[in-house]
Amino acid sequence: MSDDRQANRDAAVEELYEEAAHWHVNTGDETIHAKRIPGKWRNLKWLSSALWLVFFVGPFLRWGDRQAVLFDIPARQFHILGITILPQDFWMLSLLLIFFAILLAVVTALAGRVWCGFFCFQTVWTDVYTWVEEKLEGTPPKRRKLEKAPLNFTKFRIKAVKHTIWMVIGLVTGIAFVSWFVDAYSLWINLFTFNLGSTALITISMFTAGTYALAGFLREQTCFWLCPYARIQGVMVDNTTSVPTYDFHRGEPRGRVKKGLKKEERTTGDCVDCNQCVAVCPTGVDIRHGQQEGCITCALCIDACDAVMQKLDRPVGLIRYESLDRLDGKEDRPLLKRPRVWIYSAILTLAISGIAYGLASLDAIEIKALHARQPLFVLQSDGSIQNKYTLKILNKMTVDMDVTISARGPKNLVLVGAEEPVKSRHGRVTPRTVFVRVPREHVLEETRPIVFRAEGRDEDGQLFVSERENVFIGPKR
């Protein structure tokens, strides 16, 4: 190793120590100004953040003559691409929520808080907000200096521009959110012609204010104190979970680089105590203390540490994605031998198959029968017993359909009022009142089951059937 390189290295390290001299434990009393450095994980973070572009662009996609994805709350219809979901299909939502809850658990169990570090809106928006801040106010030391500086014109100008941009981002976020619930194009038109309804206005302003406050000011404090997920991660992560971990076997005892010291003479571990991992941390924690509530596992400290290790010609990976077991030299249990994996995937499969079944049976009709209660039955002049039912035919398809009604149950029953097919309107419930008459000699019990059947065909001749059981009630015997 040449002396030249040694000198370069010393200079680089000197610079790093100066940068991190400021640090102390994050107690929320001070804004965290995290240093931004390029790296593999940084790029990955931009990529995962870019997924949120869907949130902004999505509402503008069309499907036929309507918005591709539209949660139409006033009309109680959710349109998702080609399918329309009615309130009757809402049970699928609970399966969807279960699916995502378990997915979160699986991912956390395997790789820590992937959601927090790479996808969470709090993380992504804060990242964008601080990016804007850095562009306008400069690096963290400059930002801290500006904070302490007395208010003058330059400071005011910079701050004004920053807050305006922040608010605009918040506003666009609010508008994008509302666009999922109303037609996006007419929303923008109404916005510029001042024709927005109060609901839209209030929602947009709440989102603007919320985004501005949460991403601009609360930032990592949200993760510390507002978000419940940070608190329950402790039960989701175990020794086999691979998370950004400081390899203390290799790093300790940490010690500053001594100028001119040869590699062989070194008594300290690989950690040079440069605090770069802390300087880049968006939540201001020290990863060297191990997994902790403040760590959102964004892996930016890995980038920072690797950069330092490269400068110092030491092997990278002092901080790396690793499980505690592997750190201690144990082999990871194979995935298929972990009960968690089996339980989680069972629940995931159940939820997914439920949703798949629901989606596959969306295009259908559904019949419900309500028995009249007052009176429960009527004696007719010919001695037969008559029951009255209100049938409700739900048409979940996109076209109106003629639905024929039939009934089976007690012998020789006569169905009155179903001679004409029901003109079942799409997306709606069409009621029909029918009477069922059964000759007295066939009314054998006080109650007997009766099944109503609705049948309809679409233009292609495909048959849709729905059946519903109810009771036929007769006099006490």
């Binding site: 007052q374 009176p375 004696l379 007719q380 002049s381 008559q386 009255k388």
Partner: protein
């Protein structure tokens, strides 16, 4: 009360009990005071806007002029406006025409429910099931006819049929024989039915006549269902012996459908007609 304050410098009021229990003179928390003043301000603003303070003979009205009655009226106006579309259509149509229109008859069925509950349900039951002495409207047996026009006339003009008490005209054995024949559904099988003149009102075959409101004695439905311990036979015998609405007999059954033509509007009667017709027995 201690003469000398043993706890100087802690801002107590000097009220000390049991050696060390003392009252501090700390100020009320700021958040509490803010809440207090905001509440006061609220009361003032509220009383300016809404009716609030009682005066000797009236009360302050508030500059918005808001009252509960106005609010209620506004809501009612909205309802009337929504209904007016249907109501104007109904006003120009007959009950039969309404029945022919699926949408209108559904509206009528829904809106006449209240009318039925107020005017008809006390006798005929909430679901038109009838009750002791009162005929069911849900079955297919009609004393005065089950066509739309018949039902409308029944509601408008009321009905009162008369059957003479036969207790003194017939011997007990004859009453028994006739009653049994009626319960069996074959009144004409007894020669007495013809001989004693039952056919005058109930017809040769005993099927009744809608113009007179006489009951069909051949069907499964008994006009006066038995009450208490009575059997069907007892009930029929009672009707034969004491009659219906017979002014000469104080034991006679009382059965009168009152006239609603002067209580309800034409449209209301039309709606009730549709409602009763759709019970299932309309013909």
């Amino acid at each position: 009360m201690a003469d000398k304050n043993p706890f100087p410098g802690e801002n107590n009021t000097g009220h000390i009990w049991d050696d060390n229990l003392r009252e501090l003179a700390n100020p009320i928390p700021r958040w509490w005071m803010i809440g207090f003043w905001v509440s006061l301000l609220w009361v003032i603003l509220y009383s300016l806007i809404y009716p609030t303070w009682p005066t000797l003979s009236s009360f302050t009205k508030g500059f918005m002029g808001w009252t509960q009655i106005k609010e209620y009226q506004k809501g009612m106006d909205e309802v009337v406006e929504i209904r007016s579309e249907f109501e104007t259509k109904i006003a120009g149509m007959s009950a039969k025409e309404i029945l022919a229109d699926e949408g209108l008859s559904a509206y009528t069925e829904a809106s006449a429910k209240v009318l039925f509950g107020d005017n008809c349900a006390p006798c005929h039951g909430g679901g038109g099931q009838g009750g002791p002495g009162y005929p069911a409207l849900v079955d297919d047996a009609w004393l005065w006819g089950g066509a739309v026009e018949n039902i409308e006339q029944t509601i408008t003009m009321g009905r009162k049929g008369i059957m003479t008490a036969h207790g003194k005209i017939l011997k007990p054995g004859e009453v028994n024989e006739l009653a049994q024949a009626i319960v069996d559904g074959k009144p004409a099988s007894s020669p007495l039915f013809l001989q004693k003149g039952c056919i005058a009102c109930h017809g040769m075959d005993g099927k009744g006549m809608a113009v007179l409101g006489s009951a069909n004695l051949t069907d499964a439905i008994i006009r006066f269902v038995p009450e208490g311990d009575q059997t069907v036979l007892d009930s029929v015998k009672y009707t034969i012996m004491y009659g219906v609405n017979d002014p000469s007999n104080p034991m006679s059954r009382q059965a009168e459908m009152p006239k609603f033509g002067d209580r309800l509007s034409k449209d209301e009667i039309k709606k009730l007609t549709v409602y009763v017709y759709k019970f299932g027995g309309g013909q």
